[in-house]
C-alpha cells in the first residue's frame, strides 16, 4: 500500500489510545456490526475516537490492508489491533474487555439473588465436586442460563441460600434481585428464573386467553392486516391499525395493555415491538393470529 496512506493510518492508531474504524459515526452507525461495537464501547468508555471509513474510501480499503483483516469494524487499543465485532463480543463475554481497553474494571458488588429451597437442593445435587460451580449467565438481551462448570478469577461469587453462584461481571451487573425457583412444568421439573431488571417484552397470548379477557370487558385490540384482509375475516372488537388508531394509542397512558393481531402472528409482532419501543409496558401479540382465533375460538371466522 501507498506509504503516505500507511503513515496516515499509523498516525491515527498511534495518536489515539482507543480508535474504532467503523461504518458511520459513533452517534449514527451505518452497519449492524459497527453499531454493536459502539454499544459495547459506550458501556465502558466515555471517550474514544472513531474513524468513518464510509467517508474516506482510501482508509476503507487501506485499513483492511494495514491490519491484514478484511472486515470493518476494527478496533485498535494503544497501537495494537484488537479485532472485529466477534472478538470484541467474546471479550465482553469473558469479562476481559476492561482489561483490554486499559480501564480499571469497576468492582462489581455481588448482587443479591434469591434461590428457593427446592432450586438450591436441585443445584446442589448437580454439582459433582468442589471444583465445580453453578454459573448464572444473563446476556445483554436478558437471556438467562444456568450451567455447571469451573469458575474464573474475574467471576463474581454470590452466596444464595446454602449454595454459591458464580457470574461473569456483565451478568452480575444485570442480576440484582434475581429469583431462581424449581417448578413443575408440563415437561417435568425446570428452573424458573425471574429477573426484575429485564426490560418489558412483547408477551404472547393464546386465542383462548384473549377471548377470556375480552369477555371480561373491552380492551385495546388492533388488527394490523390490510383492509382487504379484513373484508375476508375479522375478529369482532378489533380495530384496524390505521393512522387515527395509531394516534389513539399514542394518547393512551403507557400502562394500558395493548393487544395486536394479524393473520398468523408475524406482522402483529412487529407492530407490538414498535409500541413497546414507544414506552408501553404491557404489549400482547395474539399467537397464531386470526388463524388461531378461527381454529380455537370462533369457527364462524373464515380461514384464508
Amino acid at each position: 500500500m501507498d506509504a503516505s496512506l500507511r503513515s496516515r493510518i499509523q498516525t491515527l492508531v498511534d495518536n489515539n489510545p482507543v480508535v474504532l474504524f467503523m461504518k458511520g459515526t459513533r452517534t449514527a452507525p451505518q452497519c449492524g456490526f459497527s453499531a454493536t461495537v459502539v454499544q459495547i464501547l459506550d458501556s465502558v468508555l466515555d471517550e474514544y475516537e472513531t474513524v468513518n471509513v464510509l467517508a474516506d474510501p482510501e482508509i476503507r480499503q487501506g485499513i483492511k490492508d494495514f491490519s491484514d483483516w478484511p472486515t470493518i469494524p476494527q478496533l485498535y487499543v494503544k497501537g495494537e489491533f484488537v479485532g472485529g465485532c466477534d472478538i470484541i463480543k467474546d471479550l465482553v463475554a469473558s469479562g476481559q474487555l476492561e482489561e483490554t481497553l486499559g480501564v480499571a474494571s469497576p468492582e462489581v458488588a455481588p448482587p443479591v439473588i434469591h434461590v428457593s429451597d427446592s432450586a438450591a437442593a436441585a443445584l446442589k445435587e448437580a454439582v459433582q465436586d468442589g471444583n465445580e460451580f453453578v454459573r448464572l449467565e444473563i446476556s445483554q438481551g436478558f437471556e438467562h442460563g444456568l450451567s455447571i462448570g469451573p469458575r474464573s478469577d474475574t467471576d463474581v461469587v454470590v452466596a444464595a441460600g446454602n449454595i454459591s453462584l458464580v457470574l461473569d461481571r456483565g451478568s452480575a451487573r444485570r442480576a440484582a434481585g434475581v429469583t431462581i425457583d424449581f417448578v413443575d412444568t408440563p415437561n417435568g421439573k425446570a428452573f424458573k428464573i425471574n429477573n426484575p431488571n429485564e426490560p418489558p417484552r412483547v408477551q404472547q397470548i393464546s386465542a383462548a386467553d384473549l377471548r377470556e379477557r375480552m369477555n371480561k370487558g373491552p380492551l385495546e385490540l388492533f388488527d394490523v392486516r390490510t383492509p382487504k384482509e379484513r373484508e375476508i375475516a375479522r375478529i369482532e372488537g378489533a380495530r384496524l391499525l390505521d393512522r387515527p388508531a395509531q394516534d389513539h394509542i399514542m394518547a393512551l397512558p403507557k400502562s394500558t395493555p395493548l393487544y395486536f393481531h394479524c393473520h398468523s402472528g408475524m406482522r402483529s409482532q412487529q407492530a407490538a415491538q414498535f409500541f413497546l419501543g414507544q414506552g408501553f409496558k404491557q404489549v400482547y401479540n395474539l399467537e397464531g393470529g386470526i388463524d388461531a382465533w378461527s381454529r380455537d375460538v370462533d369457527s364462524d371466522v373464515p380461514r384464508y
Binding site: 451505518q30 456490526f33 491484514d68 483483516w69 478484511p70 472486515t71 484488537v82 479485532g83 466477534d86 472478538i87
Partner: protein, 86 residues
C-alpha cells in the same frame, strides 16, 4: 440498505468458501451457512493451537480473501467466524 452481489448463487458460494478454507488448511473441518452475501463459518483445525482469536481468524480470512475483495464480491460480510482446535 441493499447490496448488489451480482449473480452469485448462495449454494455455489458456500462451496467456494469451504473449498478455499480447506485449500489453505488441509485438516480443517468447515461448516458454512448463510446466503445473500452474508455467511457464518465455524472452522476446526489443529493450526489454531496456540493462536489467539485474532491470529486464528486471520488464517481463515486470508484463505477466503479473494472471495471478499471488491464491491461485487460474493462474500459481502462474515457474520460470525468461530475457530477452534479439535
Amino acid at each position: 440498505m441493499s447490496h448488489s452481489h451480482g449473480n452469485h448463487s448462495s449454494a455455489v458460494v458456500l462451496e467456494q468458501i469451504k473449498a478455499a478454507v480447506v485449500a489453505a488448511i488441509p485438516d480443517a473441518k468447515v461448516e458454512v451457512s448463510g446466503g445473500g452475501g452474508h455467511y457464518s463459518l465455524a472452522v476446526i483445525s489443529t493450526v489454531f493451537a496456540g493462536k489467539n482469536p485474532v491470529q486464528s481468524q486471520r488464517v481463515v480470512y486470508s484463505a477466503i480473501k479473494h472471495l471478499m475483495a471488491g464491491d461485487g464480491a460474493p462474500v459481502h460480510a462474515v457474520d460470525s467466524l468461530k475457530t477452534s482446535v479439535p
